[in-house]
């Protein structure tokens, strides 16, 4: 029955001392999709990932359960890691070895025979567009190249499950698009992908399904586009200063929703016209009218407690 689900988490908790990192988290990931964990720093995304590949231990509980392709990470982390590829948040490459040697040494950890490894390494360097860096030292690589190499390393064993912790954080737009393209490609080949991100566009670009986490708890779950449609007003007017906001404050209709929690003031509305009317009193450059996106949803869901405190 569980065959269809790649990953199942049921009532998972994790505390570090008095700090609760993950609280009663449940979700399941069907096979061959890209599943995203979204949330601000400290939301519990990385801890959740680490519990899934057995590098962090979940708290004991009566109803808790975790299964990764039928294996419990607490008991069979080696089996899970054998058919998974892991891209940790930090590029922990072996700086004492060059690009190719990093992959060769890692291939041995999977027990891949030498001949097969050589072939696979050439393929992966080509796939990740690193072929000309084959003999480079790790220190000579740019941030984007290091990231691509870590992804290549995670693909050595041709994994069923690819786990990526913030795959594109801190990278330039070209590299991010390249990585997304590669991940979509892998997904088409049937690989199950689990990733964490705090980039909304990343989730929009590659995730079939996401959960939004805040302070260790799941807040929302669903398809990113569907979540936006169902939970947030389709249009948003961004005002970049308080001075500009004061000019229109009196005219804002009650049917709109104003969010002042971020640096920019955001006015959400179901009607584009309502927002256009408001812009008449503003100069170009003082405002930006656009369609709402996942970031707005994110702000609405995770920022809500912040607003309550203010």
């Amino acid at each position: 029955m569980e065959e269809k689900e790649a990953i199942i988490l049921q009532n998972i908790n994790k505390c570090f001392g008095s700090f609760t990192a993950v609280k009663d988290l449940s979700f399941s990931v069907p096979q061959s999709i890209c599943f995203g964990l979204l949330g601000p720093n400290g939301a519990g995304k990385t801890t959740t990932m680490k519990m899934i590949y057995g590098v962090s231990k979940r708290d004991y509980g009566k109803t808790e359960k975790m299964s990764v392709f039928g294996f419990d990470p607490q008991k069979d982390s080696l089996a899970i890691k054998f058919f998974s590829g892991v891209v940790p948040q930090e590029n922990n490459l072996d700086e004492e070895l060059n690009v190719e040697e990093n992959l060769k040494v890692f291939a041995r950890f999977y027990g891949i025979p030498k001949k097969e490894a050589t072939k696979r390494i050439a393929e992966l360097l080509n796939f990740m567009e690193l072929s000309e860096k084959q003999h480079s030292r790790i220190q000579e690589l740019s941030g984007g190249m290091k990231r691509r190499l870590v992804i290549a390393r995670a693909l050595l064993n041709n994994p069923k499950l690819l786990i990526l912790d913030e795959p594109t954080t801190g990278l330039d737009p070209q590299v991010r698009h390249l990585i997304w393209e590669k991940l979509r490609n892998l997904k088409r080949q049937g690989m199950t992908i689990l990733l964490t991100t705090h980039y909304m566009d990343e989730a929009f670009q590659i995730c079939d399904r996401i959960i939004i986490m805040n302070r260790g708890e799941k807040i929302l779950e669903g398809n990113p586009h569907a979540l936006v449609n169902a939970n947030i007003e389709p249009f948003v007017l961004e005002i970049n200063s308080m001075v500009s906001f004061q000019k229109i404050k009196a005219n804002i209709p009650a049917i709109t929703r104003v969010d002042e929690s971020a640096d920019v003031i955001r006015i959400y509305s179901r009607e584009q016209l309502t927002l256009e009317t408001l812009t008449k009193k503003l100069k170009p450059g003082e405002y930006y009218l656009r369609q709402s996106n996942l970031e707005d949803l994110f702000l609405k869901t995770t920022g809500s407690t912040l607003n309550a405190l203010q």
Binding site: F16, Y53, G54, V55, S56, K57, D76, S77, L78, A79, K81, F82, G85, V86, V87, P88, E90, N92, L93, D94, E95, E96, L97, E101, K104, V105, F106, R108, F109, Y110, G111, R153, A154
Partner: protein, 262 residues
């Protein structure tokens, strides 16, 4: 349960070997700068201390002083190299380079990584004691052929000091703290474990302390091997090596696991 029999992932032996291979690969990358000094160091030592002192001290414990020294030096070389590997080396991989975090993404557990390191340190102990043995043998300072088996004890020395050094490392939060271990423990041991003079000459109280030093229990069998002078005490030496190693490695792995898997 899901062992190599089911072919779910590589066997324990292969996992430990693959970690050993990582260290071997890193070490042999710079073969000249890593491989030559072990041969040069004994030359310097013998020239500086041995030849100089030899003019004043003819005999030590009934053998030429230079022979006395030459039968202890391969072992201290093994001790220092394995201690360095599992202190500074391990700490850097643990805290600075984060090599272990990377390796934990592969189908390896903490035990595999640590046993692989200790095995590698044993290999280095073997190689370093081999280098010293070859040099002193070339000068005719040690009797042949049995002395050529010294590297076997060098291997055990490497394993034992690697295990103990790993245990020390699990308590260290700041890399500079290793200074205490080296100057406070390893260096005194160098002088009071029968390498430069026989421990039989020590005052009774120090004599007893010397018997608690692990180095004593690898130097004595080495000299016995080289000189062909065996006694039943050697059995206790080997027992000490085994017990000391096990009592070091077991808590060390437990503690490092708690540091890596939270």
């Amino acid at each position: 349960m899901h062992s190599s029999n089911n072919r779910l992932y590589p066997s324990t032996f292969n996992r430990i070997y693959s970690v050993w291979f990582r260290h071997f690969r890193v070490y042999t990358k710079n073969l000249i700068s890593n491989g030559l000094p072990p041969f040069l160091e004994p030359l310097v030592f013998l020239a500086g201390i041995g030849l100089g002192m030899n003019r004043y001290i003819d005999q030590m414990a009934g053998i030429p002083y230079i022979t006395f020294l030459a039968t202890g030096l391969p072992i201290t070389a093994a001790m220092f190299t394995s201690a360095f590997e599992l202190t500074y080396g391990t700490f850097i991989r643990l805290e600075f380079d984060r090599v272990y975090d990377g390796m934990l993404a592969a189908p390896l557990n903490v035990k595999d990584m640590m046993l692989g390191e200790i095995l590698w340190a044993g290999t280095k102990g073997l190689f370093f004691s081999f280098a010293v043995t070859i040099v002193v043998a070339a000068f005719g300072f040690i009797p042949l052929p049995w002395s050529l088996f010294t590297p076997v004890i060098g291997f055990l020395t490497g394993i034992m000091f690697a295990s103990f050094s790993l245990l020390i490392t699990t308590f260290v939060k700041n890399i500079n703290h290793f200074n205490f271990y080296f100057t406070g423990f390893l260096s005194p041991m160098f002088f009071f474990s029968g390498v430069v003079f026989p421990i039989e000459n020590l005052p009774p109280a120090l004599r007893i302390i010397a018997e608690f030093f692990p180095l004593t229990h690898v130097v004595r069998p080495t000299r016995a091997l080289c000189l062909g002078d065996y006694s039943p005490v050697l059995f206790l030496d080997f027992l000490f090596i085994v017990v000391f190693t096990l009592f070091s490695v077991w808590p060390a792995i437990y503690r490092i696991e708690r540091r890596l898997i939270k």
